[in-house]
């Protein structure tokens, strides 16, 4: 078994940057990132990017993400900066005490290249780059459509948009597509097939390994079965919030050739020890005896921005320690 340590990205800003950017940008909703920020702000984000990548390299993670520090609107970011999208009221980010600006799509979702530009800069600092995008189902779920007219057309357009973005990415080892909405607001009936096709469409835009990561519980059986039809390399399961249902899904329906395990809690300051993480990997392996995974990605269950700076670094260090041990035993 090859264990690869990584994270789903969306890092918290370093504390110095929280203050610097607050004063450069302001506190209100019109002050947030719109894709047209000036040089001083861009330079600050450049520094932050280098620091976040440095943190991951220092910890010894196998895959390094850009950090997505610029994503003020979390997973809604790729739309929030698009020229044909209006950002309106502040809305709740899933069932969290976090908010993002409602991205309202008012025109065609043309190519943007925003995320590709971030990754170009990140690629200067690492040879093990992991790209991160919202999955098409979650991104369309987080947004409001005033252009495409029906939810099916909007989902397809969102998938095409993300596929175009991914096609512009520099070389990367993996693409993590984050799909919490598949758990939180699951597709119904024929929407399932469409969601799976949308994911395949984005996945086909890259030669990298594609991991569709789900969290905040387990997928329903039906959604899980449909997701396995998508042309992807791994499904990610959140074993922090839900163990039994995730094991059941894998035992009953099988899974992809590779698997991602959310084993560290991205929303709690309690830091898992490397021993605990290793035990969890083994514990899950024992319960899935029929599976020989090509790659087992080990990660936090959620994005990392929920954590204070000292604790996300401690989680990275624990993950890095797991990576170091796996190298010794491999």
């Amino acid at each position: 078994m090859t264990v690869v340590t990584t994270t789903p990205g969306l890092y918290p800003l370093p504390d110095w940057a929280k203050e610097t950017l607050s004063s450069l940008k302001g506190h209100q909703k019109h002050d947030l990132i719109g894709g047209d920020e000036g040089e001083e702000i861009l330079d600050t984000y450049g520094e932050i990017r280098e620091e976040l990548i440095g943190d991951q390299r220092e910890a010894g993670l196998d895959l390094v993400s850009e950090g997505q520090a610029r994503w003020d609107d979390m997973l809604a970011h790729p739309l929030a900066v698009h020229e044909n999208v209006d950002t309106r009221g502040i809305v709740r980010y899933y069932d969290n005490n976090n908010f993002y600006r409602d991205p309202v799509v008012t025109g065609e979702l043309t190519e943007s290249g925003d995320v590709a530009r971030e990754l170009e800069s990140a690629a200067e600092f690492t040879d093990s780059l992991q790209a991160v995008l919202p999955g098409p189902y979650s991104l369309s779920d987080l947004a409001t459509d005033e252009y495409y007219g029906d939810s099916a057309a909007f989902l397809d357009a969102t998938a095409d948009f993300l596929a175009n973005e991914a096609a512009m990415f520099p070389d990367h080892d993996t693409l993590f597509l984050l799909e919490p909405s598949l758990v939180e607001h699951p597709p119904e009936d024929d929407e399932n097939e469409r969601a799976s096709e949308a994911i395949s469409r984005v996945a086909s835009a890259t030669d990298a390994e594609v991991v569709v990561h789900t969290y905040w519980g387990a997928l329903s059986e039906k959604v899980h079965a449909h997701l396995l039809d998508a042309a992807i390399d791994a499904v990610g399961y959140d074993f922090v919030s839900e163990v039994d249902d995730n094991l059941y899904n894998i035992q009953e329906y099988g899974t992809t050739d590779s698997i991602a395990l959310g084993l560290l809690d991205g929303q709690n300051t309690l830091v898992e020890s490397p021993e605990t993480i290793t035990e969890r990997i083994e514990w899950i392996g024992e319960r899935l005896p029929a599976h020989e995974f090509d790659t087992t990605y080990v990660s936090t269950n959620t994005e990392l921005f929920y954590l204070p700076e000292n604790k996300y670094k401690a989680k990275l260090a624990a993950l890095g320690e797991v990576a170091a041990r796996e190298e010794v035993t491999a």
Partner: protein, 352 residues
Amino acid sequence: MKRDQFRRPAHENETFIMTTVVGSYPKPKWLHRVRDLWEAEGERFDDDDWREATDDAARLITAEHERAGLDVLVDGEVRRNEMVEFFAHRIDGYEFNGPVKVWGHNYFDKPSVVNEVEYDENWLVEEYEFAADLTERPVKVPITGPYTLANWSFNEAYDTEEELAYDLADLVNEEIEKLVDAGARYIQIDEPALATTPDDHAIVGECLERIAEDIHEDVYLGLHVCYGDYSRIYPEILDYPVDEYDLELANGDYEQLDVFKETEFTGNLALGVTDVHVAEVESVAEIKENILKGLEVVPADRLTISPDCGLKLLPREVAYGKMANMVQAARELEAEIDRGEIEVARTPASAD
């Protein structure tokens, strides 16, 4: 009726629509400066200076509330920085690791529960006693509820958030007992986290049962919940052992009002009648229209009016204007009801 204790002897109308605020209020600018000096190392401001400054601020804001004509006052929560942090600093078992994002560049110092929580020092008794001494009018005490204290913290110590919430409920209960001994009769429990996790309404209910169980019979208990989808918690919340439900509805232009009309609203309603996210003072006429929305849900003697939520993010003169217009709107409407110009339902005498 418990509500009658808050009616001023000088109240001129037969009808009484109680006016109050949710709690927080813009702090005077100099208080921020004093806080910086108090928190900075090597400055000359010590704890006594901080106390003196917050006493002055409490005098100022309580008088401002009185001048606006409110029936029930609050000291503006001038001593508190944030609704979870303030309490977590006073409870054993919490530690702080640094700021986390709420949205954009707005952060809060989300605490971690690292040991079993225990009551340490008084939370609000001195704050209440000081404010109560300043005025003849009743002073309400807003207190962050146990569920929000649990849900808006990192839980490192308890197996489940539910167990943490119940332990915190016992501590909140201890504080409320002290407040009641000190004379407080209007306690408002703030549970905004219920809006983020509506599936947990039963846990909130159990917390409230622990608080209400042996409470003094004259105490009027309110519950404030804001910025969520009320259809996910109503009518279930009607089973809670509280007297009043304080709801934010002006912000959504009363789109959610129908939720409360589908099933009979059996409690007292504290209705948000001004929007705290709009930095313009609504006119008296507009606020009267909003109060009438509340009268579609409950009769006037079961209606309290307040802003949607804490006023602290507004410019102070706007916050004052909203309160003053709100009181004027209530008094005008009461007189119109007395004169029979507006047809409203009345509660049978036995209800309360």
